[in-house]
Amino acid sequence: MEEKYTLKRKTQYGILSIVGVGILLLILGYFIESPNRQELWANVLINNLYFLFIALFGGVFLALHKISYAGWYTALKRIPEALTKFLPISAALMFLIYFGMHDLYHWSHEGLHDPILEGKAAYLNIPFFFARMALYFLGWIGLTYLLRKNTLDQDINPDLKYHKRGKILAALFMVFFAISSSTMSWDWIMSIDAHWFSTLFGWFIFIGMFVCGIATIILLIAFLKSQGYLEYINKEHIHDMGKYLFAFSIFWMYLWFSQYLLIWYSHIPEETAYFAPRLNDHKFLFFTVLIINFLFPFLALMTRDSKRNIKWLSFVAVIVLIGHWLNIYMLVIPGTIGKTAQIGLIEIGFIALYLGGFLYVVFSSLSKTPLLVKNDPLLEESFHYET
């Protein structure tokens, strides 16, 4: 079975118009809202993280199923592989943060005379911050590149060694990701509120990433199916993606609440300092994030039929993706802009610009390789998959 996705003119124009709208909104927003440097950098950081998470999850999805000997995902492998192609661009965008360090991270200023920050200076200093960033991206891009190359080689050569090598690469990626996803979330998100810390933070970010990535893969499947591709992806595969979205939305709330409950209970000023601005200044968004990231998918995806209906599932995925963008917004904004932050033209413009670029990278990557892998020993199992 040979199937190749061709990037249609219509899709290209669609992506181009998203980028166009983004640029237009940014120009309009720049003159109407006259944002300061801090707001612009905060937006860059939010969207960097959001699209980095989705791209990085492509690698997690591949490695997770590879090392757990899963067969069902094999037929849709090219989609997470295409997601990882955004990682190099993410890296470039992330290094841009160098120019906005002082607007985003309070700890990066010189001569603060802050005993807490002086105590953390061995970890939170600018050279080490960027050295770690380089290391993360080196690992992620390198290992996802090798994972992808491995399956492309397998397409040509039916030797079983690629399957075995894929397992080793996947295990390496998982180990590297387990550590780097935690430290990455301390570096880029938790250190915005440098006085505060939470040992659960890395997991919380990771599960948010998991939900975003699954929602994106669901939407890509729905789009490709609507174009007449991916005939072999049936309701059983869709059902499993729905289960992931449902389960990890619950788990996201579980971790959110585990963090909140302990801070609420002990009521120590150093810890409540994190939630106080979020609850007092952004009360509406604070509860909106909880409702659309947990309550909505929990109720909307509870029945079996709702998980097997691709249209309904894509609708839920869109809502959850919006919810997780707001979640990252709520993580970054109170520590950078604070009270005056509002979602306006600038925010939407940045999203549109990033989204356009992201979609272009993913779709052009999908169109370069056949949509179905070949010679994978688990491929046949994937066709006959039944939940």
Partner: protein
């Protein structure tokens, strides 16, 4: 007194084909016993969708309301105490117990609904068709109650798929 015909298969493919043939001939299959779940068997046997999830949702919702309601009543009305400077109606502290009782009620609700629906539990009468039904082979049990002349037909279909140990058993019920 009911009569059943039972037989063993070595391979699940044979079982699937035999079950399909029997269904086409309008023979009612009483049960199929297999050492592992077989894909594609449920649609052949014509099982209806389980309503256990609905029971789970309802009993879970009841557990949720009972847990939350009881805590609210106990901490506000019955015995209000100041704990750690928190208000009496402190929602976050109610959540873990609410969550646990929701899960507990849902689980117990589903287990008991299943036991009642499938007539299991203390005092249940479960006819054992053969001593080896939990072994490594695939067993099919066919009802012989409706018509007496079914035996030859069933045996023919079963033998075609290499069934072994075909026998008729009478069970009081």
């Amino acid at each position: 007194m009911r009569r059943y015909i039972s037989a063993y298969f070595e391979d699940e493919e044979n079982l699937l084909r035999a079950a399909k043939d029997l269904k086409e001939k309008q023979v009612s299959i009483q049960d199929v016993l297999t050492p592992f779940p077989i894909h594609g068997l449920d649609p052949i046997l014509g099982f209806k969708r389980s309503r256990i999830p609905t029971v789970g949702f309802i009993s879970g919702a009841i557990g949720c309301i009972i847990a939350f309601g009881f805590q609210a009543w106990a901490f506000i009305v019955d015995y209000p105490l100041f704990i750690g400077g928190k208000p009496h109606f402190a929602i976050p502290s109610f959540i873990p117990i609410t969550f646990e009782l929701t899960v507990l009620f849902a689980a117990f609700g589903m287990v008991f609904a299943f036991l009642i629906q499938s007539k299991l539990g203390p005092g249940a009468n479960n006819p054992i068709h053969d001593e080896r039904i939990t072994d490594d082979r695939f067993m099919i049990i066919v009802d012989l109650d409706e018509a007496g002349n079914l035996y030859e037909l069933v045996k023919e279909i079963l033998l075609k798929e290499e069934a072994q140990d075909i026998k008729v058993k009478e069970i009081d019920k």
